[in-house]
Amino acid sequence: MIAAIVLCCSIIFFLQFFVPYCRSLIAASSNHVLSPEVQDVTGLTSPASGEDFHRVVQLLRLCPDRPEDRGEIRAIGVYFSMLNALKALTRSIAPAVRTWVERELGRCTYFAAVALDRRVAFSRDLLAQQIEA
């Protein structure tokens, strides 16, 4: 009985930490201005839409991997899936929650676009270093 209570509490606490953690990662990238190239490639509108998330992530996978942002992209991917599940659950019962979820999905897309922008800049620096060498 106690183990079941501890398990329930742990799962609730986990969500209470995981959601703000993902939002803190997203907040850190929300002030980043995307380069014109990434804006062109992704075709993101303002505000970004959650529907573009998978396309931006696919573009992200085409770029050379950066180990330092891998964990964050994965965490946001999990957060995105959780939000999609919430969107499906609240489709007809809570329109206000749905609006919030859609905004969050768009912010996830923007985060992925910022990660793409950073990877493109990283690849360029790498190429420039190789040419200099």
Binding site: V6, F13, Q16, P20, Y21, A27, E68, R103
Partner: protein, 234 residues
């Protein structure tokens, strides 16, 4: 014997622990978050010790098992004090450090006493079982304390983004372990399956701390209320 994947995860975890300390030195926050970095250094040493014992005595040996559980209890205690050091950072301006330290020691003593009271009734291998149980109980105590700390941080107007990420990643780590232990207690047969996840989850804390030290600027501040579910503004 553990397979190549286990060794790869162990190596990755060790690398990430070293990266946390290197990042903290690079960003000149080693002194500010000294206990957190001390925990990472201890993790490095323990990883080395476990690897040495594993290579010498084998996976199924008693030596390795004792070493594993005793060092796990030691690391959990140091992690508990890392959490208390985050409390001290958050409440620095209120000058309540002395009371926090006293409270932390009293709570640790209380948890140890509670663990001993349970263990002494149910096992003859008191010391080993005590170390194992103490780790589990401290994970839950740590989880509750992290939640209380996060609730306090949420009341603040502006908090360093670095501190927020450290607290939240610690909360995720504690809650995951507490959930795993609770699941294993509910269904003891699941312990061997759940314990496979421990090294993977163990990598998450150094990964998130390394990211926080490496990427989050020292001067960056966030209004924590914006991060809670209710705070929807961008």
């Amino acid at each position: 014997m553990p397979g190549a994947a286990s060794y790869a995860i162990l190596f990755l975890g060790t690398l990430l622990e070293a990266l946390v300390v290197v990042s903290a030195i690079k960003r000149k926050v080693l002194r500010k978050y000294f206990v957190l970095n001390l925990y990472m250094v201890l993790c490095l040493l323990v990883s080395w010790g476990r690897h040495y014992t594993l290579a010498r005595d084998g996976f199924g040996s008693l030596n390795y098992r004792y070493f594993y559980f005793y060092t796990d209890a030691l690391l959990t205690i140091v992690l508990y004090f890392s959490l208390i050091s985050l409390y001290l950072s958050v409440f620095e301006e209120m000058k309540v450090g002395r009371y926090l330290r006293l409270g932390a020691v009293a709570l640790l003593a209380g948890t140890s006493w509670f663990t001993y009271a349970i263990v002494s009734q149910s096992s003859h291998k008191i010391l080993t079982y005590f170390a194992f149980e103490l780790s589990q109980n401290l994970y839950f105590v740590g989880l509750v304390l992290t939640y209380v700390l996060w609730a306090a941080v949420l009341k603040m107007r502006q908090t360093p983004a670095l501190l927020i990420q450290l607290v939240l990643s610690l909360g995720i780590y504690f809650s995951f372990f507490a959930a795993c232990y609770a699941l294993a207690n509910l269904h003891p047969t699941l312990y061997s399956r759940v314990s496979v996840l421990f090294p993977v989850v163990g990598c998450l804390l150094p990964l998130s701390w390394a990211y926080a030290f490496w990427r989050v600027p020292n001067e960056a501040r966030i209004a924590p209320a914006r991060l809670a579910m209710a705070g929807v503004s961008r």
